[in-house]
């Protein structure tokens, strides 16, 4: 594995010349699953640059390759063509520490919430080599500080089955952040929650982003969620996906749920909705 040197990820890399360093860069990256006649194109040649500290939301019709972009950025999938650069190096080098969260919180049922959240520290350097020494002191405090930030103070020694779906999803965010990732990849993290819990978690995620300053890539099918959270929204076409619109979201922060009912916000939502309706009715066949 790569040696990790916190805060020096960009030194000496070609992208460091830019004013704001680039965290994630896809250059003509495409992904095709399978081979020959059974090949399924999941993502058309896509070029996307995400600056360090940006909060980018990916929206689009289902099955359009949103999650594929996320998996490219995490190194779980290799591009069929093109290159994926993360933190100034090829993605396989793992130059940026990554945190991930999915719709399913996947807490391990035999561990308390606290220990579940500490799991990444057991895996990632430089925390890994100190895990035995610090798990009862510094790391536990770290986990509890995060829990407090998401409103789960005092729940650290509960077991996952004692928490509701919304609480588990908060814990899931904590687990994605505990190892101080520079890049946070979220795949429909709030998809299974009710409207009110979801809106509550938007604010929590916004706070977390504003304090932790990580680059966030959020895949969602909820346009309000995208407009509330993101500083930039990329709209994708139907499978095989490509980016059809890429626009900044300039509402001031911290944003509130009340803002989502103001005319500007509603107009943005309608614009995004228009793109997706078009994308659904005109599949981008042969667009590669």
């Amino acid at each position: 594995m790569m040696r990790m040197q916190p805060h020096s990820e960009f030194l000496g890399s070609p992208v460091s010349a830019a004013a704001v360093p680039i965290a994630i860069e896809l250059s003509d990256a495409s992904v095709t699953f399978g081979r020959g006649e059974r090949a399924v194109p999941a993502l058309s040649k896509t070029t996307l640059r995400i600056a360090d500290g940006e909060f980018v939301a990916l929206v689009g019709p289902s099955g359009c390759g949103k999650s594929t972009i996320l998996r490219l950025a995490s190194g779980l999938v290799q591009p069929t063509t093109g290159v994926v650069i993360v933190g100034g190096r090829e993605v396989a080098a793992r130059a940026l520490r990554v945190g991930m969260a999915f719709q399913n919180p996947t807490m391990l049922p035999w561990m308390t919430i606290e220990r579940n959240i500490m799991l990444p520290l057991k895996i990632v350097e430089p925390f890994r080599s100190q895990f035995r020494k610090l798990r009862k002191t510094e790391y536990r405090d770290k986990a509890n500080a995060l829990l407090e930030q998401v409103g789960l103070k005092g729940f650290g020694n509960r077991f996952p089955w004692q928490l509701s779906g919304g609480m588990l999803q908060r814990a899931n965010l904590c687990r994605a952040l505990i190892h101080e990732p520079r890049m946070l990849l979220l795949d429909e993290p709030f998809g299974a929650l009710d409207q009110f819990t979801r809106e509550e978690l938007w604010s929590i995620l916004q706070d977390l982003w504003m304090t932790h300053k990580a680059t966030v890539l959020l895949v969602t099918h909820d346009l309000r969620e995208a407009a509330f959270l993101a500083s930039r929204i990329c709209v994708m076409s139907a499978r095989p996906g490509r980016i059809v619109d890429d626009s900044e979201v300039s509402f001031s922060r911290p944003r509130t749920v009340a803002m989502t009912f103001e005319p500007d916000f509603v107009a943005l939502n309608q614009k995004l909705r228009g793109f997706i309706v078009d994308a659904r009715s005109a599949p981008a066949e042969g667009a590669i």
Binding site: S74, L108, P109, V124, W161, L185
Partner: protein, 258 residues
Amino acid sequence: MTGRDVRQKAWSAALIVLFFVAWELFCVMSGMSDLVLPRPSEVFVTLYQKFPLLWPHILQTLATTMIGFVLGVGLGVVLGAVIGVSKTAYDTAYPLLVGFSSIPKVAVVPIFVLWFGSGSVPAVLTALSICFFPIVVNIATGLATTEPELEDVLKALGASKFDILWNVGLPRTMPFFFASLKVAVSYAFVGAVLSETVASNRGIGNVMITASSNFNVPLVFAGLFVLAGLGVALYVIFSLIEGRVTGWATRKNDLIAT
């Protein structure tokens, strides 16, 4: 323990007592010969009187059972882990395993005797061969059911296959593993006794065969009682261990209200 549990246990105990009382009454009233079906009271007396004689045989049977069981668990865990981490290995190896496990183990005892002579070795091997299968199946199933999302989260962190197996895969198989241990230890016991009855000069199985050829029927039954007692004891021990180690898998219902 709730009142309901206590009542349940009382009923179980009552049923056991009732069983022996009915047996005793049946023998007395029908004037059944000792040579066919001895009275349970007679069996218990025999058991008490012959216990010093039975004790080394009990130890022998327990020893072969436990050695066979430990080896079987080792083999089962390794095989289960190997075929559980890969879907292809699972599908490829399964027919062979099922074929092997369908062979009645009494049929392989003579082969073991042919290879290793009569005595402890065939008993250990029979115990091993009969008990490893449930462990293989349970470990493999437990590993195969790991959530793909969690695996992705850890892989994105740079976790190795071993990290994932150690932190997620193996703990997740523990409930399956301990459930299979209960079954496997009973199987190992059956295997050891089976082998002793066919080819050994020690062990409870051998005592019973010798006693029956001497028409010492109460001693045969005393042997049966010992077997039943040991079988229950082994099962209970492993149930208790299971409850301690993998309480998280079953505790759910007790704690949901807290």
